[in-house]
């Protein structure tokens, strides 16, 4: 019985993230549009876009290789798995021990590795420039992310997300300098990883300013749909990660009664909504950076994260 419940719990989480991800993106777009006094597309527009793209024929460049066709499936699969291992409304997921936080970051890293290769496959200048900038951003964002993880893992005494989230929910945590530094760094990394303003602009199609969009320019049809869905999942993943580590309220284990589970789901959706509004506000208020200002921005995250980790190594009370 317990096994069936655990499998249902894990399966429910996998479906939930898949279903919520486009809604979150639609919500952010809607809020941004309202902030700009536009009507904006309906909330469900991302679903429609995805279905439309799935139904279309995929147009491949003449010299696209087999790798180019396989990568969208891989990127989608890796991102989906990573997203379904982060505690959202409930912790203690059945397979949460199969990949801890470091492994989770690395799974996302492999998705990026392959996406960067896809940018190089067709042999146009757009793909190359996109891949090149993507790996530059990653080369700063990944170490920052790992240092943040070190800090949090040292505070919680674990790299296991369920354990970390449970610890963060306990009164032992308290206010810590290193947690504050880690949170700022994590938000910066999340913005960069999800190609949001000011690092990248998900709405632009001006070649010189784009990073992620340039890299996937040659994709179309179902391949593009999967890459877009993976990007939406990644946004959801990072918000879930920040939520489960810094505002872990309402997260319940699978043994909890239905009322608590319902509270968990409502709390989770509420957190997503708040994060979506904050993201939209931030993006509306700030302008996109030049590409070579990005290293400074991410370098700040790296330094903050390193400082937080050093504080933790020096003393347990920080």
């Amino acid at each position: 019985m317990a096994v069936i419940r655990d499998i249902a719990f894990q399966g429910g989480q996998m479906l939930l993230v898949l279903l919520l991800a486009p809604l979150l993106t639609g919500f952010v777009r809607k809020v941004k549009a309202r902030l700009l006094r536009r009507q904006g597309p309906p909330l469900l527009q991302p679903y429609r876009d995805l279905i439309r793209l799935m139904r279309k024929d995929a147009v491949l460049a003449d010299n696209a290789s087999w790798l180019f066709r396989v990568i969208p499936y891989f990127v989608f699969a890796a991102t989906w798995i990573a997203a379904s291992l982060v505690p959202t409304f409930g912790s203690g997921l059945l397979f949460s021990w199969s990949a801890d936080l470091i492994a989770l970051i690395a799974v996302l890293g492999s998705a990026r590795f392959f996406l960067a290769l896809a940018g190089l496959d067709v042999g146009t200048a757009f793909g190359g420039i996109g891949s090149s900038r993507e790996v530059m951003i990653a080369s700063l964002a990944e170490p920052a992310m790992l240092m943040i993880m070190f800090t949090l893992a040292l505070i919680a005494g674990s790299t296991q997300l369920s354990t970390m989230s449970a610890f963060m929910n306990s009164p032992e945590v308290g206010l810590r300098v290193s947690l504050g530094l880690g949170l700022i760094a994590l938000i910066i990394v999340a913005i960069a990883e999800n190609a949001r303003i000011p690092v990248d602009n998900p709405a632009t199609h001006l070649e010189l300013t784009m990073v992620h969009e340039a890299m996937v320019l040659e994709y179309s049809g179902r391949h593009l749909a999967q890459i877009e869905l993976a990007a939406m999942l990644k946004l959801l993943l990072y918000i879930s990660l920040i939520a489960c580590l810094f505002v872990p309220w309402g997260i319940s284990p699978p043994t909890a009664d239905p009322v608590h589970l319902a509270i968990g789901v409502v709390a989770y959706v509420g957190k997503l909504a708040v994060a979506g509004v904050m993201l939209a506000l931030f993006e509306t208020a700030i302008a996109k950076m030049r590409v070579f200002r990005v290293p400074g921005f991410l370098g700040a995250a790296l330094m903050l994260a390193l400082l937080a980790a050093l504080l933790r190594f020096v003393s347990r009370s920080f």
């Binding site: 290789s65 989608f76 042999g123």
Partner: protein
């Protein structure tokens, strides 16, 4: 008994050298190539089996033998213990893979008779270094290893660059052996007990031990490629034939790591507190510098050589961590860090061999190693591309392949280090952690570049567009190694358990048994703290990708149309409009290179109205070469210039010089207490 069988195998390898010469003269090169590499394959497989048997031997018997060779009455001591048997597995697995690869690759060699006699002796020498149980046999085998590999580096001696690489290699190898000679001299002490057993029984006092430690880092580090002693490595490794490059990068650097572990963890007694600081600092710096250099290279094999330096840095950082824990008596944490380091030794020997095999196949098919001249090979060499991609994923430390597991274990070990009481370590370890994280991210960038510009895109030259898939022996070797990378990635528990006796013998502790953990996860300390299951991650990835593909093809669309790539409306874009590897590295060069390489970009625009092309020149400075090696070379040249003056003196001056020297020597004798 094991060691005797192993020595028979080594003797067989040595005997292959004269056979290679004799057959080469009488039978022609094709027969000899097949014969020698086939024989090497069989012998190394045998040696690998012996090593595996003694590694998995439950009673952990140490097998020793003394041969009446070398110094009269003293003999040469050999021994296989857990540490030696692990490194014998690394050496012979790499050797077997390289021999199988060479069965195909060696046929394309221009002058195989310059390679064939040295190749088996080189394998034999690496085996002997690992088995040696006294300082004399160790040094002789070490020097043999250096000299045979030097002969292999200059086997294609008509290329001037290779001769320079060989010269620098010979100098650095001599310097390294000198350091080791002094280290062993100090270890043997005044009584001259040069057998390892005697050294182990009477470890040196603190001051001597410190000196031995420094000399051991310099001696083994110069062979392994630690910065700043790495200068020869990116020159020599690519110059050799590709299967030898694979052995040098994948295996010989590991023999150097063996030397370091043997001296510092086994022979030197209790470590002092500052040793780990030195090893950690050098390891972290080597990792980042190695990969930054690799990102700036155009030569595919040189990219791989610099990436070897990076991985050696990671291994040494893990070893430094193990040393730190050992000093503080945290044996279980030391076991974790040492397992991580040794597992990375094994992993790197696999994927670096694989990548060099792939580079060799590309070199054979196209005749160039310059990645700016390649491109689009995935269409012409689909199988090589596939296995090379597996190697790239593994070396970039991405799950589910093996590189990630050892990286993950290293990070888990770093997370245990706040327990260290020393303040220096409290500040050093997180910094090294950040350096390792940075090097892992940069390594992924480096291998996106290496794979992307070699195999993807459109062919940039006729050589690349006319390439043919490589032969079946080479492919078999690459597939086997790639499969091993996958197995080590998804079943790491088996490998961690195999390392347990090695770790136990060196730090007096071991990691918990992994193979009994449910679902074959690996759990370094406790499941609530951290765990990773490569098998499940792999299965999840495959199955959810397959579900997505099935659902989309079934429910939505599975049609594909082909069309030209979008070129902003310009039809038939030339292949030169593709992004280049140099421009790919430009953002990273701008972020890191301005400091590390003092990189400068100089753009020259033609005057308005002129139709001349604009030029962009990039200046890079190798600061280590400029600030360390160039002054030494200049100093030697200066001294030689001055001493040259002594050749043209008159007879009177010579006589007075001889007289002065005599007087000075007598004075010294008189004053000497």
């Amino acid at each position: 008994m094991m060691v005797v069988y192993a020595l028979f195998g080594v003797a067989a390898l040595v005997a292959l050298a004269p056979i290679a010469v004799a057959f080469g003269v009488s039978q022609g090169k094709d027969t000899t190539t097949t014969l020698i590499y086939g024989a090497c394959l069989i012998v190394t497989l045998g040696l690998c089996t012996i090593a595996l048997l003694s590694l998995f031997d439950v009673s952990h018997t140490i097998s020793q033998a003394t041969l009446p060779l070398g110094l009269p009455w003293l003999g040469a001591h050999f021994r296989i213990d857990a540490l030696a048997s692990f490194f014998l597995v690394v050496v012979n697995l790499g050797g077997a893979a390289a021999s199988l690869f060479a069965l195909g690759y060696g046929r394309h060699e221009e002058s195989p008779l310059r390679v064939l006699p040295f190749y088996p002796v080189y394998l034999a020498a690496m085996n002997l270094v690992v088995m040696a149980d006294d300082a004399f046999s160790f040094l002789v085998s070490w020097e043999f290893m250096s000299l045979t590999s030097w002969a292999l580096v200059i086997s294609n001696h008509r290329v001037r660059e290779n001769l320079r690489a060989g010269f620098i290699y010979l100098l650095m190898a001599g310097f390294g052996t000198l350091s080791l000679l002094l280290a062993f001299g100090l270890l043997a002490g005044a009584a001259g007990n040069y057998a390892f057993d005697a050294i182990r029984a009477a470890p040196p006092v603190a001051g001597v031990a410190a000196l031995v430690f420094i000399l051991a880092i310099v001696g083994t580090g110069s062979k392994a490629g630690l910065i700043p002693l790495h200068a020869w490595l990116p020159l020599a490794h690519p110059a050799a034939p590709s299967h030898v490059s694979a052995l040098m990068s994948g295996v010989m650097t590991k023999v150097a790591v063996y030397g370091f572990v043997r001296i510092v963890f086994d022979l030197l007694g209790t470590p002092a507190w500052w040793w780990s600081l030195v090893v950690l600092a050098i390891g972290g710096a080597t990792a980042v510098m190695g990969v930054l250099y690799a990102l700036m290279q155009r030569d595919l094999k040189r990219v791989l050589a610099y990436s070897t330096i990076e991985n050696i840095g990671i291994i040494f950082a893990a070893l430094g961590l193990a040393l730190a824990f050992k000093t503080e008596g945290l044996n279980w944490a030391a076991a974790l860090a040492l397992t991580a380091g040794l597992f990375h030794v094994f992993n790197h020997s696999l994927f670096k061999s694989l990548l060099f095999f792939g580079a060799g196949s590309v070199l054979n098919a196209t005749g160039t190693r310059d990645i700016e001249q390649l491109g689009g090979l995935i269409h012409r060499m689909p199988q090589t591309a596939f296995v090379f991609l597996a190697g790239c994923v593994a070396i970039s430390a991405l799950p589910p392949l093996n590189g990630f597991v050892s990286e993950w274990l290293t990070f888990q070990a770093i997370l245990q280090s706040p327990q260290l009481p020393s303040w220096g370590l409290k500040l050093m370890v997180p910094a090294v952690g950040a350096l390792l994280a940075l090097s892992a991210a940069l390594a992924a960038a480096c291998f996106v570049r290496a794979f992307g510009f070699t195999f993807l895109g459109r062919a940039r030259t006729p050589a690349a567009s006319g390439a043919q898939e490589t032969d079946s022996n080479s492919l078999a070797a690459m597939y086997i190694v790639a499969a091993l990378c996958l197995i080590a990635g998804i079943l790491p528990g088996v490998f961690i358990d195999a390392l347990a006796p090695v770790v136990q013998s060196l730090v007096g502790g071991r990691m918990p048994v992994q193979t009994s953990v449910e679902w074959l996860s690996i759990v370094p300390i406790a499941e609530s703290r951290s765990s990773y299951n490569g098998l499940l991650v792999f299965v999840f990835m495959i199955s959810s990708g397959a579900i997505a593909a099935f659902a989309i093809h079934r429910l939505a669309s599975d049609k594909v149309r082909r069309g030209p790539a979008w070129g902003c409306g310009y039809p038939d874009a030339s292949t030169a409009t593709q992004y280049t590897a140099d421009s790919f590295a430009q953002p990273i060069r701008r972020v890191f290179g301005t400091v590390v390489f003092r990189a400068r970009e100089i753009g020259e625009m033609p005057p308005p109205g002129s139709t001349e092309p604009a030029r962009l020149t990039v200046e890079l400075h190798d600061l280590i070469w400029d600030s360390l090696y160039a002054p030494i070379a200049a100093g030697v040249a200066f001294a030689a210039e001055r001493l040259n003056y002594l050749q043209f003196l008159t007879i009177r001056s010579y006589l007075s010089l001889v007289f002065t020297a005599l007087v000075l020597l007598l004075l010294v004798l008189a004053i000497w207490p």
